[in-house]
Structure formats: structure tokens, C-alpha cells
């Protein structure tokens, strides 16, 4: 494990609890992501992965514990302020604006930083996803699943985030498309954006990530480097089909 003690982490959750009414979804979750890393969080359906990302955005709010970003405590911050700090979310199920064009979707991503960098950023995004450029004036709802996922990622990148959170970007996509998306994530990380990836697709995610955490029933069960977790018998049994 390459724990960086002492210096501030980019994102840090410390003993965070979160609940939906009586349903306790996160229990004493502690994890951290350092600048430049790709970190993944794997877990089964209902483990609390989406909740963990949502808690960073304050919905639901952490009932106890602390969330820090760049050393600053953001536990109580308003949801719409989080993006302005430089955290972008690619939500589960993409949540693109399907009635709006691809271009408009991308422009929505610039809300948190203003329109100053729109043109160069669009060029960068189109280099990464040439398909989106071809479909610039098309309604986003008419894109294929993979293209919609690309659009969701591109929209998040338009806000120039320092930290990109992704919630199951491989969900419902063909293996070939999944591979493409994961290659893009590696590119994004190489270009200097820290990536925190939530996945059920443990095999892909752990190969991509430097480090990983395993979430079970709202608790962090295991953590380690990607390779350590890939080799871990418990992980192999539960998430990799037991080979």
C-alpha cells in the first residue's frame, strides 16, 4: 500500500456515515484519493457505492465523519458548490440532457467555471471523443449507449475538474465499448485529472486503477493496490467469478 501520511490528500473521507432515513447506507467509511492517482471502489449492487459519491456532493449528507477536498472540510457544503471546487461527477445511468443537443450538453458542463475556456476545451474533448464532434447538433437522447456515456464523461470534463468521479461507466455497455471507455479514463488520468472510479466490473477497474477499495454493505472491507486486490482470493471469489 502506498499510503501518503501527513500531507493532505486530494479527497479524503474519514469515518463517514450516511443514511436514507432509517436505512444506514455507509458505515464508518474511510478512504482517500491522492492527486494523479486512479483509484477504484468496487462493490456489489446495493453496497453503497453510489451513496458514497452522492455523499461527497452532500446528498445525503454525511451523518458523521468528515469529507475533505484539498485539505478543506467540505462535509457541509451545498450540493451546487461542489462542482465549483473542481469535483465532477459522471453519474450512474449517465443522466445526460436527452432533449438537448450534444453541444448544449457539453456547454452545460461549463456552468461551474464559466464560458471562458469553451472553445479550446471543446477541441480537447473532441480529440478524445471524435464521435461526439460528428454528432454535435444531434439530440443527445438519440445517441447510442456508449456515445451517451462518452458525452457524460465529456460534459464532466468541460468543467475542468481536478477530480473526476465516475459511477459505473461500464453499466450496460458492450465489452468493446467498455474497453474504449477505460482506455479513455487512462488518458484522462495521464492528462492530469485524478480519477475515482466506482465499478461493479471489478476486473477492468482493478486493472486500470493503481489502488482500490472493496465496499461491502456500506463498509470498506478491503483495500490495496489493483494487483493485490486482483490476486486476493476473497475478491476473486466474490467479484471475478472465482477463477
Amino acid at each position: 500500500m502506498n499510503e501518503t501520511q501527513g500531507g493532505a490528500h486530494l479527497l479524503e473521507l474519514q469515518e463517514v456515515d450516511a443514511a436514507y432515513g432509517p436505512v444506514q447506507a455507509l458505515k464508518r467509511v474511510s478512504l482517500h484519493v491522492d492527486a494523479g492517482e486512479i483509484v477504484t471502489l468496487i462493490g456489489a449492487n446495493g453496497a453503497g457505492k453510489s451513496t458514497l459519491l452522492a455523499t461527497v456532493f452532500g446528498e445525503p449528507r454525511a451523518a458523521r465523519g468528515h469529507i475533505r477536498f484539498n485539505g478543506r472540510d467540505i462535509t457541509g457544503i451545498a450540493t451546487h458548490e461542489v462542482a465549483k471546487l473542481g469535483i465532477a461527477l459522471v453519474p450512474e445511468g449517465r443522466r445526460i440532457f436527452s432533449g438537448m443537443t450534444v453541444e448544449e450538453n457539453l456547454l452545460m458542463g461549463t456552468i461551474c467555471i464559466g464560458p471562458a475556456h469553451v472553445e479550446p476545451d471543446l477541441i480537447k474533448v473532441f480529440e478524445m471523443f471524435p464521435r461526439l464532434k460528428e454528432r454535435l447538433r444531434q439530440r443527445a437522447g438519440t445517441l447510442s449507449g456508449g456515445e451517451q456515456q462518452m458525452l457524460a464523461i465529456a460534459r464532466a470534463l468541460m468543467g475542468r475538474p481536478g477530480l473526476l468521479l465516475l459511477d459505473e461507466p461500464s453499466l450496460g455497455l458492450a465489452p468493446l465499448v467498455v474497453r474504449q471507455i477505460f482506455e479513455t479514463l487512462a488518458e484522462i488520468a495521464a492528462a492530469g485529472t485524478t480519477v475515482f472510479l466506482v465499478e461493479q466490473n471489478a476486473n477492468h477497474a482493478l486493472r486500470l486503477a493503481g489502488r482500490g477499495y472493496v465496499l461491502v454493505n456500506g463498509e470498506i472491507r478491503l483495500s490495496g493496490t489493483g494487483n493485490e486486490l486482483l490476486a486476493n482470493p476473497e475478491v476473486r471469489k466474490a467479484y471475478l467469478g472465482g477463477h
Binding site: 456532493f57 446528498e59 451545498a78 450540493t79 451546487h80 458548490e81 461542489v82 462542482a83 465549483k84 465532477a88 461527477l89 453519474p91 443522466r95 445526460i96 440532457f97 436527452s98 432533449g99 438537448m100 443537443t101 453541444e103 448544449e104 456547454l107 452545460m108 458542463g109 461549463t110 456552468i111 461551474c112 464560458p115 469553451v118 472553445e119 447538433r137 439530440r139 437522447g141 460534459r155 468543467g159
Partner: protein, 423 residues
């Protein structure tokens, strides 16, 4: 027709069901007649009505079972299934030609109309304005406001009471009443906009009624049911009455013209026409500006919006206040045109009518709303004899719309936002 026999039984069952339903609904309404303190039983009437419903439903079901009936229905509803289309950013050629023509017509027309038609047209324009205002809230921002009439009332009473207590003239009251209405919108919106659809509708509905009840019952201040009088507009201090009432010179004396009561209405119409034209222009721009885009995004996916850094409360509030302001302006025009207002003009029926305009116009389409407002206000005037059936016809029209044209008579060709809009 696959199985004629089953189609027949199905139609019969449909008819029976409709008949029972009609009996249950209509029985108490039309079967029991209040006569003094006694209730007279006239059950043959709902029975007849139910029979008529049954026959109608039977024929309808039968028609639906045939190929032709289905294809007719399909043709009616097919286009409604498709989503919003995205048009190019520049307006279509036909529209660019029509605009100057319409403007010219609007400027020339009032001089050739009788007083009656002038007043009808002014009222129609007021509803156009109300429709455009409510459209910002309902059509663009997607917030169901059932108490829009409250802001209309605030504008109207703003002029009447402002003139009565503060001696404000039309031109001073116009912006002040608009701001007052916007402030009311903000006051109501701030706590309410955290709520979702249904709750918002109920709270706004209540607000509309509260305003009306306050106007009705605060006798000392508003005059209660007796109403309040409102001043007509002036042209650089010139008044449009026969003799000056507010210390100015009458318009006709200044220009050595014969007195004509039409002058006042022509003048009101021209100002109103200018305001409506500006409003149409403004709404058109708004849709392409970041604010309009944000409203649309918020309507589509609030959660995504918030994670992108949009404060949903302030964005909704902006739409709510802007709509309220337009309603206030419309109210000022209504008051000055009537010269006298009382709370009965601001009942829930007005809210429903304005909402009908927005829905019939196609939720978001400016042209559609202008047309719907004109049709819904001018047609009843033309068909005075059928005035009693107005509400019924509205109801039927709305139900039919929701079935066959859920996106409105005029389907929106949404312009795409361009990068220029961001500058």
C-alpha cells in the same frame, strides 16, 4: 379486424362501463334538483345522459376496432409521439417575412377599429402577455403555477392603489407594479421552489386564492368587493378623457381634435402592442441564452444539474420572478384599460384560462401561445351566444389536446443554443 365478435363484446363492455360511470358522476349533479328546501328527484335526466354516453362510447369503440378508425386515430396522434425537434439557430425565412408585416398591421389596425373591437383586441393582447409570462414559468422552467393570477392582481391593484394612495400615474406605476409583482414572486417562490411538481401546484393555487381573499376582505385598504379605480395612461401629460381629471390637458384639446373615446383605447393598444412585441423578442432571446438553457436542463434532470454546479433554487426563482413580473405588467394594463377593478377579475378561473393558453399553445412555443391567446379570448367574444358553454368547451378541448396533441397545437421547433449565446 381480427375477430368481429370479440370487438363487439368489447365495445359493449366499454359502453356499459362508461354508462355506469356517467350515471355515478352525473346522477347527483343532474338527477337531484334543489327546489326550495326540498330535493326533487329527476332521475330520468341522468339516465338519458348515461344512455347517450353509452351509445357514443359504443360507436367509438366499434370505430376503433376497424382499420380505418385506428388509422384515423393514429394519424392524429402519430406526430405527437415524436419528441421536440431541433431547428437551426437562425429563424426560418417565412418568420422573418411575417414579422414586419405583423408589426405594421398591429400599428395600423387600431385606427380603423370600432371601440368594441379595440377593447376585445386589448383584452386579447393582455392575455397574450399573460400567456407569455406564465409560459416562462410553466413552459420553459417546467414549474406548474396554478396561482398565476395572483401576480396579475398585484399588478392591477398596484396601479389602482398606487394612484389612490401615492398619486402615482400610469407610467410610474408600470415599473413599480412590475417590481412589486416580481418581489411577490420571489417571496412565494423562495420557500416553495424546493418542492416538487404537485406540491408546488397546490401551494401556488392556495397563494392565488389568498391574494384574492385579501383583496376582497381588506375593505379599508383595497375597497373590498367594491373595487378600486385605476387611472388611464397619459401621453407626456396629456390625458385621454373628455375633461382633465389628473391636472393635465386633454389630448383632444391640445391637438384641437374632436373628443373621441377611442383615443384612449388606441393609445393603450399601441403601448400594449409595443410591450408584447418586446416580450416576444425577449422570450425568443431568452430561450437561447444560458439562462433559458439552464431552465431546460433543470426541467430534464435536476440531479444532474445540481452536480454540474447549478443552484436549482435560484434558477427556478429567476423564472418564477420573471413570470410574476410579466403578470404584473399585464395587470397594470388590465387595470388601466378597465379603469376600474375588483377582486372578481382575479379568480382561479383566470389562472386556469392562462394555463389553458400556455398548454394549448404548446408549452414553450411563442407563436403557439400568441395564437392560443388570441383564439381563446376573441372566439368567445365572437360566439357570445355560446358563452355559457365556454368552460365546457375549454375542458373538452384540453382533454382532447392531452390525448392527441400533448405537446400543443404548435409543436416546438426548439432552436439550438449557439456558442454566441454564452458571450
Amino acid at each position: 379486424m381480427a375477430k368481429p365478435a370479440s370487438a363487439l363484446t368489447k365495445s359493449l363492455l366499454d359502453a356499459l362501463f362508461s354508462g355506469v360511470l356517467a350515471l355515478v358522476v352525473l346522477g347527483p349533479i343532474s338527477g337531484l334538483v334543489l327546489n326550495g328546501y326540498q330535493v326533487r328527484n329527476e332521475m330520468q335526466r341522468p339516465l338519458l345522459l348515461a344512455a347517450a354516453v353509452m351509445v357514443g362510447r359504443f360507436l367509438f369503440s366499434l370505430a376503433l376496432a376497424t382499420e380505418r378508425g385506428r388509422s384515423l386515430l393514429g394519424a392524429l396522434s402519430a406526430r405527437a409521439q415524436q419528441g421536440v425537434t431541433v431547428a437551426e439557430a437562425s429563424p426560418p425565412r417565412s418568420l422573418r417575412l411575417a414579422t414586419p408585416l405583423l408589426l405594421a398591421a398591429g400599428l395600423i389596425l387600431p385606427f380603423f377599429l370600432s371601440k368594441y373591437f379595440l377593447t376585445v383586441l386589448i383584452l386579447a393582447m393582455i392575455y397574450v402577455l399573460l400567456g407569455l409570462g406564465l409560459n416562462i414559468v410553466v413552459g420553459l422552467a417546467g414549474l406548474l403555477d396554478l396561482g398565476y393570477v395572483a401576480f396579475y392582481a398585484v399588478g392591477a391593484y398596484g396601479l389602482a392603489l398606487g394612484s389612490q394612495y401615492l398619486h402615482l400615474g400610469f407610467w410610474t406605476a408600470l415599473p413599480l407594479a412590475a417590481l412589486l409583482a416580481a418581489a411577490c414572486g420571489g417571496l412565494l417562490g423562495f420557500p416553495v421552489l424546493r418542492m416538487h411538481g404537485d406540491y408546488l401546484a397546490i401551494v401556488t393555487l392556495g397563494f392565488g386564492e389568498i391574494i384574492r381573499l385579501v383583496l376582497n376582505n381588506w375593505l379599508d385598504f383595497t375597497g373590498g368587493p367594491n373595487g378600486a379605480s385605476a387611472p388611464p395612461p397619459t401621453l407626456f401629460g396629456l390625458e385621454f378623457s373628455r375633461a382633465a381629471k389628473y391636472g393635465g390637458t386633454p389630448f383632444h384639446e391640445y391637438f384641437h381634435l374632436e373628443y373621441n373615446p377611442n383615443y384612449k383605447f388606441i393609445f393603450i393598444f399601441l403601448i400594449l402592442f409595443a410591450v408584447v412585441s418586446l416580450m416576444v423578442l425577449f422570450v425568443g432571446r431568452l430561450k437561447q441564452m444560458p439562462m433559458g438553457r439552464t431552465w431546460e436542463a433543470l426541467r430534464e434532470d435536476e440531479i444532474a444539474c445540481r452536480s454540474l454546479g447549478i443552484n436549482h433554487v435560484t434558477v427556478k426563482l429567476s423564472a418564477f420572478m420573471m413570470g410574476a413580473m410579466v403578470g404584473g405588467v399585464a395587470g397594470v394594463f388590465f387595470a388601466t384599460y378597465q379603469g376600474f377593478i375588483n377582486p372578481t377579475s382575479f379568480s382561479f378561473f383566470e389562472s386556469a384560462l392562462i394555463l389553458a393558453i400556455v398548454v394549448l399553445g404548446g408549452l414553450g412555443s411563442t407563436v403557439g401561445i400568441v395564437l392560443a391567446a388570441l383564439v381563446l379570448t376573441i372566439l368567445p367574444e365572437m360566439l357570445r351566444d355560446f358563452a355559457e358553454y365556454r368552460v365546457l368547451i375549454f375542458g373538452v378541448a384540453m382533454v382532447l389536446m392531452m390525448i392527441w396533441r400533448p405537446r400543443g397545437l404548435i409543436r416546438i421547433k426548439r432552436r439550438s443554443f449557439d456558442l454566441e449565446g454564452l458571450r
